[in-house]
């Protein structure tokens, strides 16, 4: 045309090309303006694509690599098993219905008939057990069994149902144990730092307690005639266990000496006293009920039950004066007076001597303050039972009641280890928590026992860097294909685990008590870990923001469930929903004699 030549250019397109996903040809045409015999990009006037058809289906031979992979097979089996569980749950409602029919048509009706199928309810709370804590504990547990770690499962990882809980308190984006456990036990979110009362409370103001008390799942279970129990490795008057039985404007009012005069004059009762007076207080609050008190109480915090007088020291008291109470009351003897057939124990020997078939009431206080970290338990003066041992003993006692039981079990010191910036103890306590959950599963029947496992809140604890598969979780980051630790831009290695804030780095070697770190000055920012052994119990990870104590975090926590009603644990919900799931599963609100 006009003496100029038209040219066509073909370009092969590979698989994955934006225009031809499954390969093809691009055909460009245009005028060779510069007459060099080559159609250049500036000379294109038109482009066309001829593509090979995209494959929309593969045959079994094409996915042989998947089909014969053991992980693929195991995953498919797990889905089939979950479907069978759902089918079984559905068929409990209507023996003739199909799963599809129930799911689409009869869900609400079916759910109503599922109410009350749980004779027993166990709530396991890992205090401060964030999702990252679960992941890291899983890996550590697996590596302790000489696995790579990541593929390991903790006991509750195998539960069929799980979801997330939003943990915020009414007045706090990042919550505390008091407000969160109150939400889980009473079904209503409340403020930070208060126990068993709603958001109309004024923190620390005794006069605002009356009229704002909320009933708890444990109290409903008591009223319904079930046996009840609380276990914690923290002080039994600490926030999480306290939220099962007490009402307080301040979580720190653990005994009389902790209360300001205004609260005493206002008639508020300290938490330890409320535990011992639980039966009388509940009967006073609701006319006409008759309860028999909490059957099993085990934990630490003996000092809040004894007078501040050395003559009341227990045999294993470490302090020169063990008790803290300044009202001259000995709550241990008061409890023994109320329950003369009951058993009070304070060490492992006493624990081991308990015959659960012949014990009606058990009160165990194993330490002046909190119980030992699991890794430090051997250092207890008189010996302490483990959380798993306490779980088994409690269930063996509680299941003597034909009406069933409610049991709250807290691993209270995962939280404390995180506050101290010590992943070793946080993860070891989480592993022991997993063992306790397994003990609960083994001691019960999933046809009549709802088990919920969750955390109250998270921590600023991270798993970071790009460590290779199977890298020691407590170690420094070693990348894929490498044998030496990765170095940061400051030329120094860094651990996989770390904290955003807190007191930061410590190298206390074999020290198994995470709280020993508090005597040392804060070391935040980077430390050269090249020659530091980071796997030891006494190693505390680096932190960024200097604070006297590492803090909670505000993100969601996981909820795991098995047993009747467990299917309601799904999706992301308010933390207070947990109470309603327990109430639904055991029909607590309707079964109690208040109606």
């Amino acid at each position: 045309m006009n003496g100029l030549t038209s040219l066509v250019k073909q370009t092969e397109l590979l698989v994955g090309d934006d225009n031809c996903l499954n390969n093809g040809v691009r055909i460009d045409s245009g005028i060779d303006i510069n007459s060099n015999g080559v159609l250049e990009d500036s000379e294109f006037s038109e482009s066309q694509f001829v593509c090979a058809p995209t494959i929309k289906k593969v045959g079994s031979a094409d996915i042989a690599t998947n089909s014969y992979n053991s992980w693929f097979v195991a995953g498919a089996s797990e889905i089939a098993a979950a479907e069978a569980i759902w089918q079984e749950v559905s068929e409990q409602a209507n023996a003739t219905s199909s799963t599809t029919k129930v799911a689409f048509v009869k869900t609400q009706a079916e759910l109503k008939t599922l109410r009350g199928k749980a004779k027993n309810v166990i709530l396991f709370v890992g205090d401060g057990m964030s999702v990252s804590t679960v992941t890291a504990a899983r890996i550590l547990d697996g590596q302790s069994k000489e696995l790579m770690g990541e593929e390991n499962q903790l006991s509750f990882d195998r539960f069929p149902f799980s979801g997330f809980a939003k943990t915020y308190n009414v007045d706090a984006q990042t919550p505390d144990s008091a407000g969160t456990m109150t939400a889980m036990m009473s079904g209503i979110k409340t403020d930070v730092g208060v126990i068993g009362v709603d958001e109309d409370i004024a923190y620390g103001d005794c006069s605002t307690v009356a009229g704002n008390e909320m009933i708890t799942a444990l109290e409903l279970a008591e009223i319904a005639g079930k046996s009840t129990g609380i276990i914690s490795t923290a002080r039994i008057t600490h926030a999480t266990p306290a939220a099962t039985y007490a009402k307080s404007a301040n979580r720190n009012w653990e005994d009389f000496s902790d209360m300001p005069q205004s609260a005493i004059d206002g008639g508020c009762e300290d938490i330890a006293s409320q535990l011992v007076n639980f039966e009388a207080n509940l009967e006073a609050r609701y006319t006409g009920i008759n309860v028999d008190g909490i059957e099993v109480v085990m934990g630490g915090g003996r000092r809040h039950f004894l007078p501040k007088d050395a003559s009341y020291n227990s045999a294993d008291a470490m302090s020169s004066v063990e008790g803290d109470r300044t009202d001259n009351r000995n709550l241990v003897t008061e409890w023994q007076g109320k329950y003369p057939q009951g058993s009070y124990i304070m060490d492992k020997t006493g624990f081991d001597s308990i015959d659960t078939n012949n014990t009606t009431q058990l009160f165990g206080l194993f330490n002046e303050s909190h119980m030992q970290y699991e890794a430090d338990r051997g250092n207890d003066i008189a010996g302490e039972p483990s959380l798993a041992e306490m779980t088994t003993k409690a269930i063996d006692l509680l299941d003597n009641n034909e009406k069933g039981f409610f049991l709250s079990i807290e691993s209270g010191r995962i939280d404390h280890a995180h506050h101290a910036g010590n992943a070793f103890n946080a993860l070891n306590d989480a592993i022991e928590f997993s063992k306790a959950v397994q003990a609960g599963v083994d001691a019960t029947n999933d046809e009549d026992t709802l088990i919920i496992v969750t955390a109250d809140h998270s921590h600023v604890f991270t798993i970071a860097g790009y460590p290779k598969r199977g890298n020691p979780i407590l170690g420094k980051v070693v990348g894929i294909g490498a044998d030496e630790p990765s170095l940061a831009s400051d030329g120094m290695p860094y651990t996989t685990l770390g904290y955003t804030n807190g007191l930061g780095y410590r190298d206390l070697g074999d020290e198994t008590n995470a709280d020993a770190s508090y005597m040392e000055a804060a070391v935040t920012g980077r430390v050269d870990l090249t020659n530091v052994e980071t796997h030891t119990p006494g190693f505390h990870q680096e932190a960024l923001v200097p604070l006297s104590s590492e803090t909670h975090a505000g993100e969601d926590v996981a909820v795991y469930a098995m047993g009747p009603g467990a299917q309601l644990v799904t999706g992301t919900n308010e933390q207070s929903l947990i109470f309603h799931i327990m109430d639904f599963a055991a029909d607590l609100s309707n079964e109690n004699s208040m109606n």
Partner: protein, 244 residues
């Protein structure tokens, strides 16, 4: 002559008995006392103003108090049954205290709390002179290194420093024992003053931002962690190589 020898021996034995008695009395006194120090800090170039402060050391058997009046804080150390030592920090303004986790007790650790200067430190100093007797005996020591120099007037029977002159990086700090009391009432009142404070375990403070005092603890962390028991006049700890 024989009578003279008998008399001499009798008088010598009485003198030895008296010395032992005096020594025992000093030891008894040293176990329960209050020692108030005045601290003056100044810069050797005289450009900064001289600053003054106070420090109190109180002993009652196995319990020791270090009181910093300007900061309104008291640190208490007491020994526990399992040969460990526990620190408790009290804050007068808040009428509250923080209990730390016990740690293994060592002789040096205890001496630094009990008498501010350990035997280990004394052994590194040079004895210059000794004067006085019994409870009033004073030993004068000196120590010098590249980083610091220390001059110490030491009362060995009471295990108490009479005066300390400490120089580091051109900063001069002088501790002067201003008053010593052995009054049981004074000692009891000082220890009893803090007994009613509301206590919190350190392990619990991280949970408790709703409490204004504990919130300050978490954020400002005004618990001192370092090992030094030497303070300047503002109550700031002086750096040395002695740790808990």
């Amino acid at each position: 002559m024989k009578n003279f020898v008998i008399l001499f021996c009798f008088m010598a034995s009485q003198l030895i008995s008296f010395k032992n008695y005096a020594s025992e009395q000093c030891t008894k006194q040293s176990e329960q006392l209050g020692a108030i120090y005045l601290i003056e800090t100044s810069h050797m170039n005289h450009k900064t103003k001289q600053k003054k402060g106070k420090f109190e050391l109180w002993r009652k058997g196995h319990d020791i108090l270090h009181i910093n009046p300007s900061k309104q804080t008291t640190n208490k150390w007491h020994t526990l049954k399992n040969n460990s030592i526990r620190k408790v920090s009290y804050f007068d303004h808040y009428q509250k205290g923080i209990e730390f986790e016990p740690k293994a007790l060592t002789k040096t650790k205890w001496q630094l709390k009990y008498q501010l200067v350990s035997e280990d430190q004394l052994s590194k100093m040079t004895l210059i002179s000794t004067k006085g007797k019994h409870c009033d005996r004073i030993e004068h020591y000196k120590f010098a290194s590249k980083e610091q120099s220390i001059e110490l007037w030491w009362k060995p029977e009471l295990q108490l420093a009479q005066k300390i002159i400490y120089i580091e990086k051109e900063t001069l700090t002088v501790w002067q024992l201003n008053k010593t009391t052995f009054s049981k009432d004074d000692i009891e009142n000082t220890f009893n003053k803090i007994e009613h404070y509301q206590m919190t375990d350190y392990a619990d403070i991280g949970d408790n931002e709703s409490d204004p005092f504990l919130r300050k603890m978490i954020r400002l962390g005004f618990i001192d962690h370092a090992g030094s028991v030497f303070y300047d006049a503002q109550g700031n700890q002086l750096a040395n190589d002695h740790q808990h």
